[in-house]
Structures are given as C-alpha cells and as structure tokens.
Amino acid sequence: MTAFDANWSLMTPEIVLAALALLVFTIDFMTGIHGKKPFIGKLSVMSLLVTAVLVFLTNSTSGQIADVFVVDGFAMIFKLIILVGVAMVILISMNYLDRNEEIYQGEYYSILLFSALGAMIMVSSADLITLFIGLEILSISSYCLVGFKKYHRHSTEAAIKYVILGGTASAFILYGMSFLYGLTGSTSLRVIGEAMPQLFADYSVMMTISFIFMLVGFGFKISIVPFHMWAPDVYEGAPTPITAFLSVVSKIAGFGIVLRVMVFGFLPVYEEWIFIIAVLAAVTMIVGNAIALTQKNTKRLMAYSGIAQAGYLLVPIAALPFMGNFSLSMILFYSVAYLMMTLGAFAVITLVTEDAGTSDLSSFAGLFQRSPYLAVAMTVFLVSLAGLPLTAGFIGKAQIFFGAVSADLLWLAIIMIVMSVVSFFYYFSFIKQMFMTEPKANDKELQVPVSLSAVVTVALAVTIILGIMPNFLLDIFTTLNWFALF
C-alpha cells in the first residue's frame, strides 16, 4: 500500500480546518494586524463548527491511512470535544480580546485553530510520528497562546516556563519513543502493540524506562502529579481563555493520546503499568485537591482543580484492561462533562476576573447580586465539578466509581470519593463568595456579552441534561465502533 492508494478523504476535516486556519491567517494579514476583529472570531467559530460537522460525517467511513492516521469512533468523539471546546474558547475570548488590545486578534484566532488542528491529528494518530507532530502542533501553539499578552509580565513568565518545561517533556516522550521504535523497527502503534509482550519479556528494563519516559511526558501534558508543576503557574499567567483552553482542550486531547498509546501500544502488558497508573491517579487526586484547598486565585485554583479532575480521569484508564469499552465510555462521558462544566466555569471566571481586574477569589464577591444568571450557572458548574447529583459531573464520576469498583480498585474508588468531598470545600468557597458575600461598593451590575452568555447557556444546558438524562450521550457511545485498527 502506498500513500497514494490511501483513503485521504478520511482526513477531510483536518485538511479543511488547516485551510480555514490559513484563510483566517490570511484575512488577518490583509486587514492589518491591529484592531478589533470580531468577524475573524466569528469566522473561526464557523470554521470549527464546519469541521465538526465534517468530523461527524466522516465517521460513517471509518478507516485508516497506512497505519498512520485512523478515523474511528474514538477519534470522532475526541475531535468533536476538541472542536466544540475550541469554539467555546473562542467565544469566550471575543470579549476578552476586546478588553486586552495588546493581543493581535487575527493571530490569536488562527493559532487557536492550528492548535485545534494539532489536537485533532493527535487523537487520530496511529503512529508515533503522527502523534508527535500533532502533539507538537498543539504544544507550540499553546506556548504562543500563553504568552500572547506580551507586555504582561505574568503572561510571558508563564510562557517561558511552559516552553521550557514543555520542551523537556517533549524530549522525554521522544526519548521513550525512540526505544519503542528501535526495538520494534516500527513507529506504528499497532505493530508496537503486537510486539509488546515479547518486548517486555526480552528488554524489560529498557521497555520500562521507555514506558515511564513517555508517561512522564504525557503526564506533563495532562498535568498529573508529580508532572503537574507547571500547570498552576502557566494557568495563572496565561490569558484567561487560554487557561480554559489548556485546562480543557489540551488536557482532553492529551488523554486522547494517552489512551491511544495505552490501548494500542501497551494494553497487552497492562499488568505492568496498571498499578502505576492507579498510584498516579491517587496521588494526583490527593495533591490536586489538597493544594486547591489553599488557593485564593481563581485561575490557580482552577488549575489545581483541573489536576484533581485529571486524577479522576486516570482512574478509568487504570480500570481499562478490565472494563474495556465501558472504560472508554466513562472517560469520554466525563470528558464531555468536564469540557462543559469547566468551560462554563471559565466563561464566568473570564468575565468576572476581567471586570474586577484581578483574578483573586474575592472578585466573585456578591456575583449573585450583580448577575444572578451567571452566579447560578457558575454554581451549577461548580456543583458538577464537585460531583453532586443531577449534574453531568456526578454521572461521570459515578460511572468512574462504578468502573473502579468493578475493576477491583476499591481503594482508588474510596480515595476518589473522599477527595470529591474535600473538593466541596474549595468549589463551594466560590459559591460562598458569589452568594454569601456582599459585592464591593463600586461593583455594578455585570454586563454579559452575548457570545459569553451563549457559551454559558450551552454549557449549563448540557451539564444539566447530561446529569438528568445521561443516555443522550451514553447511547451514542454504545453504537460507536471505537477502534478501527482492531
């Protein structure tokens, strides 16, 4: 099979998105670099939505391109999550950018589109090289985005930290990959997976190191403890919509490749890593929640919250060998829930912290009086993040919990649920600020831009609907053909 025989139509969404991203870039050039460009934002959202529709359509023809690029149910769901996520990030950004004129809007949008492209490639990849390319497109775009407020000291500091630590993480991933390649002679995950049991038998030390190097790198991307150190600083320093982007899109895409690698590459030897993953999940949940308790800065708090949430998401990965598709269903459901509740929360945070000029928790003081709708929506998001019933977050967590118990990881399940209770404390401290503290004297009623309230409304609706009727999503998952390669 040569490259020309391949069914390139499978890549339509990526190609279209790349084209549209370039189009946005070009339009930006042609309209001058400065100034407000709401139409570019809208165009970008349109691009993403068009791509999302294409992703949905191409799913009917699942397949792969030369073991390098697969299109299957798994990829589709992740891509939809990514595209919707980025679209929502852009909607959140539109108002934010108008307030921060130092940011070049056209570049910003197009880079976001490119990062979405990278994430899509990443989750579709079935080959180490593709995977690496996708990862780096996403990462490098993210470095840029974090430093986008270039006259802003926090932003640039966050960017430099991110770029250095991210680069190091990439090096770790690559170093791990190089052994996989060297000992199998292939970069295809399928081939690697087939050879894996034998490899572990023959080169156990080398494979372990290789695996763990990759784990360190990926762990960095999805910010699991102890590779999470960058996250709070970067989240805090980045422009708020980018924080949302990092904590949602980047993280979910990261989980996408972790799953790819685990399912394709390492599933045959799960005994070797399942315990490590479980321990990392436990440590991540504990540390994330514990530090979050002490935070006073909303963005930083959300960073730790995100770390904790990553810990929850690791649990089904640890249960993967036992639960199979159910595990994937759990991860994807929780990803969707996480996307909605986190983006919803960030939409509110973006508006509120920008309005207050500080991202301190106290900027939420009396939000209920200033904008009841936002406050109630935020409450729903937080309650969902905390995992209380009738929200998507609860159903997601409950599933994960079921999975963990089914997979005999009772101890992990217990840590998870106890840590959920701990998380009440900091999620509800937001709520306390919003409802139980009087607004500052000069705070007026908050004007909510349409784009932002659209994001909030969508997120709110999905969070509640999935909380009450999760079968909307779960039934889709059951009809999916998860992996085209098997």
Binding site: F132, I140, T156, V163, Y175, S178, G185, S186
Partner: protein, 102 residues
C-alpha cells in the same frame, strides 16, 4: 562495527547533560539550548536504531527529520518568548522569574 549500545550510551549521556542543563543553568538561552541537546540525543538514538538497530529501517531517519523540524520551531517560539520576557523584565536569569508561585 561499533555496537549500538555505544550510540545509545552517548545518547543517554547527552540526554542527561541536556537535562542537567535545563535544571541547573540560570541563563535562559542555555536552558533552551539544553533542550535542543536533549532532542538531539533522541535523534542519535533514532538514527542509531535506524542504521544498526535490531530492526533497522528508514522510519527512524524520517522521525529524526521531523524531530529536527519541530525542535527548530520550538526553539523559534522559545526564543521569541524569551525576547518578550526580556523586554518585560530586563532579565533572562531563570531564577528571577518567579512572579507566579504558590
């Protein structure tokens, strides 16, 4: 013929040197360069496997090309950010950039 283990050892040593550099040097440019060093050690690995590995084939070299490209892009972005940082803070000393903490 030189055994592959030597190449791998060289790569490992380079990786460690790079890592050491990243973790200890106070000059940001050198830190960035150290990352390049780590990436290059990967390249050595890949090329060695590609040439004299147990399953020697061309993929490794292709991979290397990609790595080099990406490394260049990363360095470019890194340096750009570094310049922005220098403009803001008048310093590219690693330990002075700790506004964001706790």
């Amino acid at each position: 013929m030189v055994p592959i283990s030597l190449f791998l050892s060289l790569a490992a040593i380079l990786f460690c040197i790079g890592l050491y550099g990243v973790l200890t040097r106070r000059h940001l440019v050198i830190v960035l360069a150290s990352i390049e060093l780590m990436l290059n050690s990967v390249n050595i690995n890949l090329v060695a496997f590609s040439a004299i590995g147990p399953f020697a084939n061309i993929s490794g070299q292709v991979f290397t090309l990609f790595v080099i490209t990406v490394a260049a892009a990363e360095a470019a972005v890194g340096l750009a950010i570094l310049i922005a940082l220098y403009r803001n803070r008048n310093s590219i000393d690693v330990i002075k950039h700790d506004l964001l903490r706790w």
